[in-house]
Structure formats: structure tokens, C-alpha cells
């Protein structure tokens, strides 16, 4: 390995690399949650789905020796979790937030239980595409190793933006999310739409989990998520329920998370605990800067239990 001394350039490079490496789970979970919330429900269980997706993806990839099957299995497991949440929430008097918390704990518990035998084995990794061919600097090449799932996440954000704006499916989800009565008057079944939206949202979160265990950091253990699923749910509100904004917010979070280690590596070593808080400080600062007394919940689906 011939390395080039890149000195302080390491920091912006680490932020760029970190944004690409760390953001993918945030992208998938927040896009999944965005879809679910646009249909008028909150699924807090996605943290559990993420962890279970990481476990099932890793386990299946190890058993079948194919990372691709791992991702499929994680998506399927996430779909099941989403459908259970969506199905329970259709009953009268059920609170979606409470069910979400229950599903989160269930997902994590099941993942820990079934995941025990898979902490040690090494499963195959997902492939990455190298976008750093133009550079002769190995650090740049390493930072620009982009995983297929990251690109898919970007495409998905564009697709969902278009879907909500211009397609019939998008319209149906939005109507159900904004007014149950209007949806019924149109002859739609709000429960069915929400069930499907929660199921697909869960599947996306499962894929995010598979990225964690199959690519970066690339192994299964019980602390793999450390709350990333919950942060991604918060990102949706931060992104004002817009899929494109979810993508940018996820990038921002990933990049800010890389700041702490990168600063230490170039010699800014005092107060690293403070730099580790960068993503949260950044979120708070942005929320305060973009806040308004007049349009506090702009963009929020009207049927969401947050707004009711």
C-alpha cells in the first residue's frame, strides 16, 4: 500500500467518504418511514426492523454464501414486520406509536435471539463500484468506493419524489395520509393503503439493515445499529416528509458522523466527545434555523397522529 500524505485534506475527504459509507441505512430507513408517514401512520418500529434486517441479511448471506440473497431476505423480513404493524394498527383504539415501540423491542429481541450463532461467522460482502479510478491517490479511491445500495437509495429518493408528485399511486398515498374521509369518498380503502405503505416501508428499512451487516461496517453484532433507525425516523420530520430532503439529510448525518474520528486523525484531539456530538448539534442548529412560528408542521400529512 503506497499511501500519499494528504494531511488536513483527510478531513473533507473523510466527511465525503463518511457521507457515502455511513448514510445508506439512514437513506433507506428514512425513505421507508417517509412512505409510511405520508400514508398517515408513524412506524417507530423501524429501529427493530433495521436490527432484524441486519441479522437476517447476515444470516442468510452466510448460509447461502450470497450477499444478494441476504438483502432479499432482509427486505422480506422487513416487509413482514411492516405488515404486522400495519395490520394491528387498523383496529380501533390502537395507537400506532405504542405499537411501533412494541415492534421495535420485538424486532431487536428476536434479532438478538436468532442472531447469536451468527456473531462469529464471516458472511460475504456486498459488491462496491469504484468511482475513484481517475485519481492516483489511494485515499480518494477508498473514499469513492460506492456501494450499489447507496446508488439505489439515491435513485429511490428521485423515484419517490416523482411518484408522490405525478403518479396515481402517489396521489392515493397522499389522499389517505391527508384525509381518511376524502379517501373513503373516493372509494379507497385507507387501511389497505396504510398496510401496504407500512409493509413497503418496513422492507426498505430491512434493506438498510442488510447494508449495515453486509457492507459497512460489515459484520453482525448486537450493537450494530446503535440507534440509527430511530435517528432516521427523526430525519423524516427534519426533512419535512420530502424524499429528496431525506436523502440530503441522511448524507449530512453520515458526513457529520465521520467528523469526530477524522479530526482526531489529523491531530485535533482535544474534546473529541464534543465532535462526536456533531450530527446532533447540527440537527438541532438546522431545526432552530429553519423553524417558524407560523408554519411549524408544514408538509406534515394531516392524518398523522403527530398533527392531530
Amino acid at each position: 500500500m503506497e499511501t500519499v500524505d494528504i494531511g488536513l485534506w483527510g478531513v473533507p475527504l473523510a466527511i465525503l467518504g463518511g457521507a457515502i459509507r455511513v448514510s445508506t441505512p439512514f437513506i433507506f430507513v428514512s425513505l421507508g418511514e417517509c412512505l409510511t408517514e405520508r400514508s398517515g401512520r408513524i412506524n417507530l418500529g423501524l429501529e427493530g426492523t433495521l436490527v432484524f434486517g441486519a441479522m437476517s441479511g447476515y444470516a442468510v448471506a452466510y448460509e447461502t454464501n450470497s450477499a444478494f440473497f441476504g438483502v432479499l431476505a432482509a427486505a422480506f423480513a422487513g416487509l413482514l414486520f411492516g405488515l404486522v404493524h400495519g395490520w394491528i394498527c387498523k383496529f380501533k383504539g390502537v395507537n400506532d406509536i405504542a405499537i411501533g415501540i412494541a415492534m421495535m423491542l420485538l424486532g431487536m429481541g428476536l434479532a438478538f435471539f436468532f442472531g447469536k450463532p451468527y456473531v462469529q461467522p464471516v458472511a460475504p460482502d456486498l459488491p462496491a463500484i469504484s468511482f475513484g479510478w481517475w485519481s492516483s491517490i489511494p485515499q480518494v479511491q477508498a473514499a469513492l468506493q460506492v456501494n450499489v445500495l447507496f446508488l439505489l437509495g439515491g435513485l429511490l429518493a428521485v423515484f419517490m419524489t416523482w411518484m408522490f408528485r405525478a403518479t396515481r399511486v402517489g396521489l392515493i398515498v397522499r389522499v389517505v395520509g391527508d384525509s381518511t374521509d376524502a379517501a373513503r369518498a373516493m372509494g379507497l380503502d385507507p387501511d389497505l393503503v396504510r398496510l401496504l405503505a407500512t409493509g413497503v416501508g418496513g422492507a426498505l428499512a430491512g434493506i438498510g439493515g442488510a447494508y449495515l451487516s453486509l457492507y459497512y461496517p460489515g459484520s453482525w453484532n448486537e450493537g450494530i445499529s446503535s440507534g440509527q433507525g430511530l435517528m432516521a425516523i427523526a430525519l423524516v420530520i427534519f426533512a419535512r416528509w420530502s424524499p429528496a430532503n431525506c436523502f440530503w439529510a441522511a448524507l449530512l448525518f453520515g458526513g457529520a458522523g465521520a467528523l469526530g474520528p477524522a479530526l482526531q486523525s489529523v491531530g485535533v484531539t482535544q474534546g473529541y466527545y464534543l465532535f462526536f456530538a456533531a450530527p446532533y448539534v447540527l440537527t438541532l442548529a438546522l431545526l432552530i434555523l429553519t423553524s417558524s412560528t407560523e408554519r411549524s408542521m408544514q408538509g406534515a400529512p394531516l392524518e398523522l397522529s403527530l398533527t392531530k
Binding site: M1, T3, V4, D5, I6, G10, L13, A14, G17, G18, R21, V22, K116, V119, Q120, V122, P138, Q139, A142, A143, L212, Y216, P217, G218, S219, N221, E222, G223, I224, S226, Q228, G257, A258, G260, P261, A262, Q264, S265, V266, G267, T269, Q270, G271, Y272, Y273, F276
Partner: protein, 375 residues
């Protein structure tokens, strides 16, 4: 949880019914016979999952060795945070499961948690890994540890021979004395090969944070570190990330050669099975365990992974020579003239802190040549 902290009613009922039982059966039973036959219940508490390829796994392997002993029941609880939670776990092991020997294995369990519970439970023995038991601490508590810094010194020798960039990297969890000792030893080992080598350290702030460990390893590789080791609970992520960046790996806690393949130089491993079975045997036999137990390579507390294929002949030769010196006893990694990385003198010319020196266990500095800071 408040019922856990008020165990007296339960204990009273237990004792009372035993007394009634003894009274009822009277002469048929010899008093004390039941007590002697009581099997020993031993509790192990881990801060993370017990199969993490690292610290907790090394202890769980020790617990497994105890499990196979005659007349011993082993309790284990994993993922117990270094907070009030560990007190609750210890109390429930004592009060509900009848444990009389506890091995809370994480550094942060000692102060204040063990120090708080030990005086209240005088019949229980608390054996803590890594803490510094000192005169005035409860006598039914004790601390044991191994001089694994020597293992990191040997890691450093292998690293010093393998590095081309003369920069080596260390992913560390928290700036506590044992971690600092490992970082310093790693660098000093490498400097025994080439005094121009520097060691970049990155603290992640927690014992187990997979994503941050991967980011830290990437940041080290970006800065040109070509040999990387770590002191986190589960070295799996650091190993795999370092190898994917083309860096050599020195292992820690357990043998990670299956993860790093040809890139694995060597590793500093724990060997708790010998320590735990000995302590349990002493407890059953009624012998006292010293409050302060330490041991190194020569005592079988730690061991080195077999040298990997990437080590040069010169590296092997120096490694074996220094290892023999350490085995003979009285080896000092920290010896004068030596300054810390802020310029303060740590050891004057001729002064040496041998591996067994207790002063090393309250180390708060990083030596000259380590790039990093403790806060």
C-alpha cells in the same frame, strides 16, 4: 427494582424455613451437612455480547472452563451497562440465585458499583477484572488483571518491522489507564525497532460502536497508518476494515487470524480459563484468594497469537528474543529517559517501571511519539 435492594425479607424467610426444616427433622439431619454440600454458584457479568471475538468472549471462555468443574453452577449475563444496571444484576444473582462468587468483568463496574455493594453483602466474594484494589477497599472484593501491555509491546515489535510508512495506528475505546498502557506499549515496542515510528490513536468513546470503529480505522488508513491494532471490546470490525484498506493487523483480546488472514502479524490474547478455574478451586477448598491478583505471559494470564506469514525473519528473531526476556521477568517497557507527548518527563534516565509496577495502573499519559490526547 426496589424489591432487589430490600432483600432482607426474602433472606429472612429462607433462613427461617431452613431453621424450621432443621428443627422438624431434628436428629435425622446433621446440622451443617446441607451447607457443606451446597454447590458453589458463580456469576459472570459481561458488558457486551459474549461472542464478540474480543474481551467478553475471552471471559466467557474462562466461564466455560469453570462450568465444567464439579459442583459449580455458573450464571452469566451479557450486555450489562456500567451503570445502576450492574448493581441490579449483581443483587439478583446474589439474592435470587444464591451466587457467592461474582466476576463482574468490565472496568467501569468497580467504582462505584462493586465498592457500594461489597460492604452490604459481606458473605459474597466480588472479583473484578481490571480494577485497582487498594488498601481500604472492602476485603471481600478483589481485583485481578494480566499484564497485557507486554503483549501489545510484542505486537509493537512485529508492527515496527512491518510498517513502511513508519506510522502505525491504534483504535481505542476510552482513555483509561489500561488502554493508555496498551497504546504506549504498542508504540514503544515499535520504537524498539525504529525510533522514528509514530503511533496515531483515535478514541471512539465507547467499548463497542461498530460504525465509529470502522470510521476510525478508515481515518487511520487515510493518514497512512499501515499497521493497525485496537483496544475495543470486539476487534472484528477494526480487523476487517483495516484489511480491506490493505493495512496489517495486530490482534487483541482473542485470536483474530481467521478474520485477517495473511495480514495478521500477531496478537495479544487473554487466557482467563487458567485464572478462573484456579480462583474457583480455591473458593471451594476454602482457601483465600488474594485481593490483588496479577499475572503476565510467564504466569499464563496472557498469550500471543502465533506469528503470521507476513513477519520477516528479523521480526521473528527480535520478537522471540524480547518474549524470552519478558518471560524471564522484570521487563520494563516504560523506562527513562522518556517524556510524554506534552513534553513532561515520565521517567528520568535510569528510571524504569517494570511490568508489575502498580504505578503503571494509574497511567494518565501518552508517551512521546503517540499522536493523540487523553481528553
Amino acid at each position: 427494582m426496589s424489591n432487589l435492594t430490600r432483600p432482607n425479607r426474602r433472606r429472612f424467610l429462607g433462613t427461617a424455613s431452613a431453621a424450621l426444616g432443621a428443627a422438624a427433622t431434628g436428629s435425622l439431619w446433621q446440622p451443617g451437612a446441607a451447607r457443606a454440600a451446597t454447590p458453589l454458584t458463580v456469576g459472570f457479568i459481561y458488558v457486551g455480547p459474549k461472542d464478540d471475538f474480543g474481551y467478553n468472549q475471552s471471559h466467557a471462555e474462562g466461564a466455560a472452563a469453570v462450568k465444567s468443574m464439579e459442583g459449580v453452577t455458573v450464571l452469566e449475563e451479557e450486555n450489562v451497562p456500567e451503570s445502576q444496571d450492574v448493581q441490579n444484576t449483581m443483587l439478583s444473582m446474589i439474592n435470587f440465585d444464591g451466587a457467592s462468587l461474582l466476576f463482574p468483568t468490565s472496568f467501569g463496574y468497580f467504582n462505584p458499583h462493586i465498592l457500594e455493594l461489597a460492604p452490604k453483602n459481606p458473605e459474597v466474594r466480588f472479583e473484578h477484572c481490571g480494577g485497582l484494589w487498594s488498601e481500604g477497599n472492602p476485603t471481600n472484593a478483589g481485583s485481578y488483571f494480566g499484564y497485557i501491555g507486554m503483549g501489545q509491546y510484542l505486537n509493537g515489535i512485529a508492527a515496527g518491522h512491518a510498517t513502511k510508512s513508519k506510522k502505525i495506528g491504534f483504535v481505542a475505546a476510552k482513555p483509561i489507564p489500561q488502554v493508555l498502557n496498551n497504546i504506549n506499549s504498542f508504540l514503544l515496542g515499535a520504537r524498539a525497532v525504529d525510533p522514528g515510528i509514530t503511533c496515531q490513536v483515535i478514541f471512539t468513546g465507547e467499548w463497542s460502536l461498530a460504525v465509529k470503529e470502522a470510521e476510525a480505522t478508515n481515518a487511520l488508513a487515510d493518514q497512512g497508518c499501515d499497521v493497525i491494532t485496537c483496544h475495543v471490546d470486539g476487534p472484528k470490525v477494526v480487523c476487517e476494515t483495516a484489511v480491506s484498506r490493505g493495512a496489517f493487523v495486530c490482534g487483541y483480546h482473542a485470536d483474530q487470524s481467521p478474520l485477517a488472514g495473511d495480514k495478521y502479524l500477531t496478537g495479544a490474547e487473554w487466557n482467563w480459563a487458567a485464572v478462573y478455574t484456579d480462583m474457583v478451586r480455591k473458593t471451594i477448598a476454602g482457601e483465600a484468594i488474594p485481593n490483588f491478583v496479577r499475572g503476565g505471559l510467564a504466569d499464563g494470564f496472557i498469550k500471543m497469537s502465533p506469528l503470521g506469514p507476513a513477519n520477516s525473519d528479523a521480526a521473528r528473531k527480535q520478537f522471540e528474543a524480547v518474549k524470552a526476556e519478558i518471560m524471564a521477568g522484570g521487563f520494563a517497557a516504560i523506562k527513562g529517559p522518556l517524556k510524554d507527548n506534552k513534553g513532561n518527563v515520565i521517567a528520568a534516565d535510569g528510571q524504569a517501571f517494570v511490568e508489575t509496577d502498580v504505578a503503571l495502573e494509574s497511567m494518565g499519559y501518552l508517551v512521546e511519539g503517540v499522536l493523540g490526547s487523553t481528553s
